[in-house]
């Protein structure tokens, strides 16, 4: 099994303990794939699904879509587009932050300014 498949299966099974609508069949139906295909994904018999399917799966399972995409070896297309628009700037930024601890990265995250109202 791949890490992607294990995560999907474990998350779905954990949700199913309290809610039977998280059966393989019902989750597959809500995500828009065949149950047999979802089963193969969970077992790692096939490659992780497309970006769109992974995002729907993440939403259905309450997982972060970027994390699930990363487990599937993918980067969200909107992030790719951000880098493509200003490749030098963002490539430099990401390389500089590669080894930075989480709290240091959070400090450079842009804040929504709260003004006077």
């Amino acid at each position: 099994m791949t890490h992607f498949g294990v995560t999907v299966r474990e998350t779905r099974e954990r949700l199913r303990q309290n809610d039977r609508s998280y059966s393989l069949r019902q989750v597959a139906q809500r995500v828009g794939v065949e149950p047999a295909y979802l089963s193969k994904i969970e077992r790692g018999d096939v490659a992780p699904p497309s970006e769109a399917t992974t995002k729907r799966l993440a939403r259905e399972l309450g997982e972060d879509p970027d994390v699930l995409l990363a487990l599937g070896g993918k980067v969200s297309s909107d992030l790719q587009e951000i880098i493509r628009r200003r490749p030098r700037l963002f490539a430099d930024l990401l390389r500089q932050l590669r080894e930075a601890p989480d709290h240091a990265i959070l400090r450079v995250v842009r804040e929504v300014r709260d003004g006077d109202w």
């Binding site: 949700l15 309290n18 809500r30 995500v31 828009g32 729907r56 939403r59 259905e60 399972l61 309450g62 972060d64 909107d78 959070l106 995250v109 842009r110 804040e111 929504v112 300014r113 709260d114 003004g115 006077d116 109202w117």
Partner: protein
């Protein structure tokens, strides 16, 4: 010092970030789990005809942009407020979606034009319990409008500020602020940890003021009460003492008329949503949400506000196209009798 400071308490405002058109509130100083996100959902405008309707679907998030990115294109007052910009077509509706992935509880106050959407009171940052002027997340997954009766809201509908329709104008007589204002306050760390331990064990106004409208600002929009919808505002099951009012984050969401959105941001605004009749005729789903929790009563202030259609009838105006009565046939019950759901409740059209 900006805004009202909570008396006797140090102002420890925390960070809000904009992530994929969602406002994310984080309080790492309170607890690593203390984070919640709010997004603003496009939706159908339900008929403003006196009937009670079920919950309409979410049609995707409205785009949000930093005010600071467009300072040269915005009036001084907007620049001072900071926050974010959101585009809406006139007479378009919206609902707010609240999401706390970890299940960390939050008290959230929502105001339009600096008037509380739950009580109709003027904006205040401190939480009040009598009457309750805030929502409790994750118990409350959504807010679609103003609490006008117990279990009933009037839908948030965008109208130009200065035309007399907004709740702000109806209750204050002034068209000054518009937009939406939000403050998020996390639960106290100790109470949260206590709850987690408990969970582990178990697992096992009477007369309207004289209205003097200011000059309408061409692109400024406010929110007004539209059609009636069945939605409960849940009573706080935790009590006022559990909220850590020393820590809070707040945001002003300025609403821009979609016609001006492109000239400000250079981006196309979202297209107008389908009408409620088109949606219902296509047999697409509506929703009915149930939680086994008490709901708050409405205050007289909000009960006494008039809907857009009622004001328009008095003015001889027709601001609501496609307002005919409909019969939503496909109503899907969703909800839970269990305590706070950890997963996000889905309220959207099924995938094609």
């Amino acid at each position: 010092m900006t805004g009202e400071q909570i008396e006797g308490m140090e102002d420890t405002r925390q960070m809000i970030t904009l992530e994929l058109d969602r406002l994310t509130f984080r309080f790492p100083e309170v607890h690593p789990d203390a984070a919640c996100a709010i997004d603003f959902q496009r939706t159908l405008r339900i008929p403003d005809d006196g009937d009670d309707y079920p919950l309409p679907p979410g049609l995707g998030s409205f785009p949000l942009r930093h005010v600071d990115d467009y300072l040269a294109q915005l009036p001084d007052a907007w620049r001072r407020r900071g926050g974010v910009l959101l585009p809406m077509h006139q007479a378009e509706a919206m609902w707010l979606s609240f999401d706390s992935d970890s299940g960390y509880p939050f008290a959230i106050k929502v105001a339009t034009g600096k008037i509380c959407a739950v009580t109709g009171d003027a904006w205040a940052e401190r939480l009040n319990r009598d009457p309750q002027d805030y929502l409790v997340v994750p118990e409350q997954p959504w807010l679609d409008g103003y609490c006008v009766e117990k279990g009933l809201i009037r839908q948030f509908v965008a109208m130009p500020l200065g035309a007399g329709y907004t709740v702000e104008e109806q209750l204050t007589g002034a068209a000054e602020h518009g937009g939406l204002q939000i403050i998020a306050i996390p639960m106290k760390r100790e109470r949260y940890e206590e709850m987690r331990r408990e969970e582990t064990c178990r697992v096992a106004y009477d007369v309207a003021p004289d209205v003097v409208y200011g000059p309408p600002t061409e692109s400024a929009m406010g929110l007004a009460p539209g059609g009636r919808m069945r939605q409960e505002i849940y009573d706080d099951p935790h009590g006022l003492d559990v909220w850590d009012q020393r820590h809070f984050s707040r945001c002003f969401v300025s609403i821009v008329n979609s016609r001006q959105w492109q000239s400000i941001t250079g981006e196309q605004p979202p297209t107008e949503p389908p009408t409620a009749a088109q949606y219902a005729n296509a047999g697409l789903p509506w929703f009915d949400y149930y939680r086994d929790l008490d709901a708050v009563e409405a205050t007289d202030k909000l009960k006494d506000t008039s809907s857009v259609a009622a004001i328009a009838a008095k003015k001889g105006d027709a601001p609501l196209p496609a307002n005919q009565t409909i019969s939503p046939g496909n109503v899907i019950p969703i909800g839970s009798r269990r305590p706070a759901p950890r997963r996000r409740q889905v309220r959207e059209m099924p995938h094609a």
